[in-house]
Amino acid sequence: MLSGCYPGGAEYVDQLDLVYTNYSPGFDFGSVQTYALPDEVVFIDSDSRPTDPEEYLREPFKSGILDGLEAQMNARGYTKVDINADPDLILFPTASRTVNVDIWYGGGYWDWWYGWGGGWYYPGYYPTYVSSYETGSVFVQLAFNNPNLDPNEDLPVHWIGVMNGLLQGTDTQVNNRIKSSIDQMFAQSEYLRR
């Protein structure tokens, strides 16, 4: 193959940001009312394993993600409650700076907070595989907190949002890009509302 010439292209780092969402078509997002959001964002570095001690994302990114998610969920008609108040939905935000990341099909990164022994699964759809280098990603998983779920069963994740981009710029610049990407996750997920 001839390699070719590639003029133009992205001039600014935010032009490399990507937002991906997917959801379970069979789930009625209007039938639930409450959600829980953790106080931390799990951070996965390039060599992190689910069995490692938890690492958390630092400020201002943590607040940027959590505040953005809370504002969007509230705007969609959901009510935030404590994790112990039996919420209908649970949001699991995770950030990564990795070479390759595959956080799907396992809830191990979140055992410390939710306390169940199973993994998670994606009813009726498949999340994309995320491979990156020198980049940052924010993953948001929205799980249905089925009260009848056995602690050893997989948790059904009915919506996922992924933001991926280059880790360049000041904290403020990166945080602004994270916030606008979270807004975009919801903007392209109109079904996600009461």
Partner: protein, 201 residues
């Protein structure tokens, strides 16, 4: 004085005749700058004029009006699509998208010259061969590349303007009709070319 006029006229006649014979009997090669316009399905994919193009051709005359040869070229098409969202099934992806097609024509061609003895020589031609299209779509940090070698027919019309016995300007319009293959839809395009033609003495 009349003798001088006669000598000048004779000299001009000889020069013109020599030039005309050179036009008819010499091999030529040319370099052209090419401006490209995507057409049809290609125009749906990239709707922007390409100002990055070059073509080289070599022609061998077979009689007073007809020549055969080949052409190789390179045209680069590009468009910034801005931020776009794509939905497939339940998945949606949003990001800035940049589209590229690098096209490499490789053609055998024939040309018919209507007035090869004159300084303005109109000609028509037809090329046949393949075009290698390398198509890239950039989305976020990812690049998706597809490549297709497509059968191509390329009609052409142009004019040669002789500036001296060994050199002419060429202005031409060429339509690269490129047929869809298994990997890519048709990637046909029109070009307007300007260049220099050199006689090979």
């Amino acid at each position: 004085m009349k003798a001088h006029y006669f000598l000048v006229a004779l000299t001009l006649a000889l020069v013109c005749n020599t030039a005309a014979q050179a036009q008819l009997s010499q091999k030529t090669y040319s370099w052209e700058y090419s401006v490209g316009f995507p057409m049809g399905d290609f125009g749906d994919f990239i709707d922007a004029t390409s100002f990055r193009g070059v073509a080289f051709s070599y022609q061998n005359p077979v009689n007073d009006h007809v020549s055969f040869g080949f052409e190789i070229g390179w045209n680069v098409f590009y468009q910034d699509m801005g931020e776009v969202s794509y939905t497939e099934g339940s998945a949606t992806i949003t990001g800035d998208q940049f589209r590229y097609v690098n096209s490499y024509p490789l053609l055998l061609q024939g040309q018919y010259h209507f007035k090869p003895e004159e300084d303005f020589d109109f000609y028509a031609g037809l090329g046949i061969g393949v075009i290698d299209h390398v198509q890239a779509v950039d989305l976020g940090l990812y690049r998706i590349i597809d490549e297709g070698w497509q059968f191509a027919l390329r009609p052409e019309a142009g004019i040669l303007f002789r500036v001296n016995p060994g050199t002419s300007f060429r202005f031409a319009a060429k339509y690269y009709g490129s047929f869809a293959d298994g990997d890519l839809p048709s990637r046909s395009f029109l070009t307007l070319n300007a260049g220099l033609v050199f006689m090979q003495f």
